[in-house]
Symmetry: C2
Subunit: 444 residues, 2 copies
């Protein structure tokens, strides 16, 4: 009998593999940071001896969720301003609040709060763009979360970097420091085409290429940006990106609300990746990304929550529900974006988008053990005819009962094992008092 | 010192009164089934002695939510079929499943399961349309929930009533039986204009008038219905309703996706009420109701989840989030449907829609004590700048910690006090096995 470190046992296992395998009364054996075997509970328990059994009886066992785009530390600005015209929201609330308050302390505690929230709603990997990302990496490491993080780069100074050069140098240091880390991965992240000069964009891509890491950018989030970029470049944004050598398999583009059919073909031909953020796009009134067309065109599309100032939570289960429904009503077709498709976006396809498809996103032997359990023994999840349907249309983040990342149990019975929840809430509440006071001062 | 039966004490109280009063460190004193006083904790505790203190420290205290349209017993069909073309979904799943399985047992246990789910997500009042509504009334009474329930009426036989006459007689019995009940109210409910003859519609309205109860109907849920009705009547549905004397303050119309500006004026002039069901409209790809125009036009609009076959849960907090975001993206305007507006739809405006504005929907002395507490001490609700924003954009049903209806505590620390949760889940799971087997048999 082989020795496993732990066995997640007794629930229905959704593998999210190519065959959409579902194993009822199943189990997953874990050795170290990896999945050793997936199968029927009886078989796994006959083949593996384990010191630790994690009981998933009556629950769903599935791959951890992948949040393809967020700004973790912005939990500190959750709900600070809503329902405002975009420019009022940005110029009178978000930008001044950030300029006056973002420092390493906010970045660390805000990111740790985001990790707490993400783990508690089933997310095991997140892709982040913000300021002082060394702190976000530290927080993720503390939380035991997998991540792909990058310092935001733009032409103007940030609270962390006085110039684009400093931003690039900071990013390079991040890449070198975290190289080979089992959880923390680095991405080069120019903010957007309207905030970065072509020269900065090219330097960023060149940095990413030299270390073979992904390069990610906000792209075509709304019509105003589309018009602005066409005016700025005298051509379509996708043509500009093509001309400066951006289109490749390592490009991750966030939002892409205004991608047209030709852009989708161009992205497909070059293997570019997209992250869809439906709730943020709805709340900021950005528009509806053509995700149905992207998927039909063969693009890899992941799912993200965006930051807490524009959502205002990091619950990917809720985001899946919204994604499935939004495209149905937009196209007046109830068959588009079925449950399986949106679950893929938050698991296996999401992993492909981040270049992690050989690591996470499905439950197969050899993959890293990033696993969540969803408890089904609740009125709103009763009865159950179809697991996929329940995950997307009935469950919410609060239904996640246990989370393993890289083979390690980070939440059990909804209790976080790597984060002091009370401490992180206390710290971020103190930071919020300072933020609110800084905004009020600015108004006098 | 006056004696109160109980005091909900120590949280931030949102009154949802005309002045949008918010009382920090507040309390609500309850005598019998009514609110005796709302104020600062110190004042209330100085003025009222109470045997029972319900501690809401660090939480939000607000009026219970009002689900303006659902089919409670359809919890038994939750997730039985999704992502299908409408006619396939209806004709091959929902209708056969209902025809073969709906009986008083399913209606009772399915409704009780819905009550469990609704209480656990903060709903204290629901408006229901289904079959065997005596059982739904019984379940609501058992759960201690406030409701407005009506037997569905149409031209063809239902599992309960062989003819429209039987349906009307059954409704009349319901009205007489439940007259004067503190929780259960009855509504006359012709299903829709495409399933009811003009004669049945007129008899239904006449019955409602003779007992002075509301009359409610599905209306203009999608474009196909709009076209069908125009063809059937040779005029707009709203004109037809006007001509047969339907338009008055007691009319509650569900969905109204295809209401145009003239319809909205006509509805406003006659005081008709509307219930908006955004998630169902999205999932079934029905379209986006012109709620922004309805509100601008002065209509009273409530919020509903619709049944569990088309949502697939009864979580009004999630429904508020979706409502706020859907209209923003549809109109490409982030200022429409602000948080306060959608909270109104689920509380004070929702009460007006159901004719209960003198009873529930806001926290004022003299109103019935339907009160919920939302626990805020959680990562995804931290920090907090604005209570309204958190309710709509960050909270979910699972954040509701306690619920009082008609002065009675029906949930405390998330434990249901009126329903045996395990029993209702066991019963509905047994019913679901029979439903699934009946569908599989039908396919051979």
């Amino acid at each position: 009998m082989t020795k496993a470190d732990r066995i997640v046992s007794g629930g229905t296992v959704l593998l999210l593999d190519e065959k959409e395998t579902v194993i009822r009364d199943g189990a997953v054996a874990i050795m170290g940071d990896r999945i050793a075997a997936v199968g029927k509970k009886a078989e796994i328990e006959a083949g593996y001896a384990s010191g630790e059994i994690i009981d998933a009886k009556g629950g769903l066992i599935m791959p951890g969720l992948i949040n393809g785009h967020t700004h973790a530390a912005m939990t500190c600005f959750r709900g600070i301003a809503d329902d405002l015209p975009l420019m009022d929201w940005l110029n009178n609330y978000i930008f001044p609040a950030e300029a006056k308050n973002v420092n390493p302390e906010l970045a660390y505690w805000g990111s740790l709060l985001a990790c707490a929230e993400m783990i508690k709603s089933g997310t095991t990997t997140f892709c982040d763009m913000y300021i002082f990302e060394e702190e976000t990496a530290r927080a993720a490491k503390q939380a035991g979360m997998r991540c792909l993080v990058g310092e935001v780069l733009f032409d103007f100074p940030s609270p962390n970097c006085k110039s684009p050069e400093e931003g690039l140098a900071y990013t390079k240091k991040l890449i070198e420091k975290w190289a080979g880390d089992p959880l923390v991965n680095i991405v080069v992240e120019p903010h957007a085409l309207y905030t970065c000069s072509p020269s900065l964009l090219k330097s960023a891509k060149s940095l990413a290429r030299s270390y073979d890491v992904p390069c990610a950018v906000h792209l075509l989030e709304n019509r105003a940006e589309e018009a602005q970029l066409r005016e700025k470049f005298g051509k379509k944004a996708s043509h500009f990106l093509h001309d400066i050598g951006y289109l490749d398999e390592k490009l991750i583009a966030f939002h892409c609300v205004c991608l047209d059919d030709e852009d989708i073909r161009l992205f497909r031909d070059h293997g570019c990746k997209v992250v869809h953020n439906p709730e943020s796009n709805m709340k900021l009134a950005s528009g509806v990304a053509p995700v149905v067309e992207m998927l039909a065109g063969g693009l890899a599309v992941g799912l993200g929550t965006d930051g807490c100032a524009s959502n205002n939570n990091l619950d990917l289960l809720q985001e899946m529900d919204t994604a499935a429904k939004l495209h149905k009503v937009t196209r007046l077709d109830p068959t588009v974006m079925p449950a399986e498709t949106v679950i893929r976006m938050a698991t296996s396809a999401g992993a492909r988008v981040l270049g992690m498809e050989k690591t996470v996103g499905c439950l197969k032997p050899g993959m890293k053990a990033d696993i969540i359990i969803i408890a089904l023994d609740k009125p709103h999840l009763t009865p159950m005819y179809n697991e996929y349907s329940h995950i997307v249309y009935a469950a919410g983040g609060a239904d996640v009962s246990a989370v393993l990342i890289n083979g390690r149990l980070v939440m059990h019975d909804r209790k976080l094992l790597t984060i002091d929840e009370d401490e992180v809430m206390k710290k971020t509440r103190e930071i919020a008092v300072r933020i609110w006071s800084s905004l009020r001062k600015g108004k006098h």
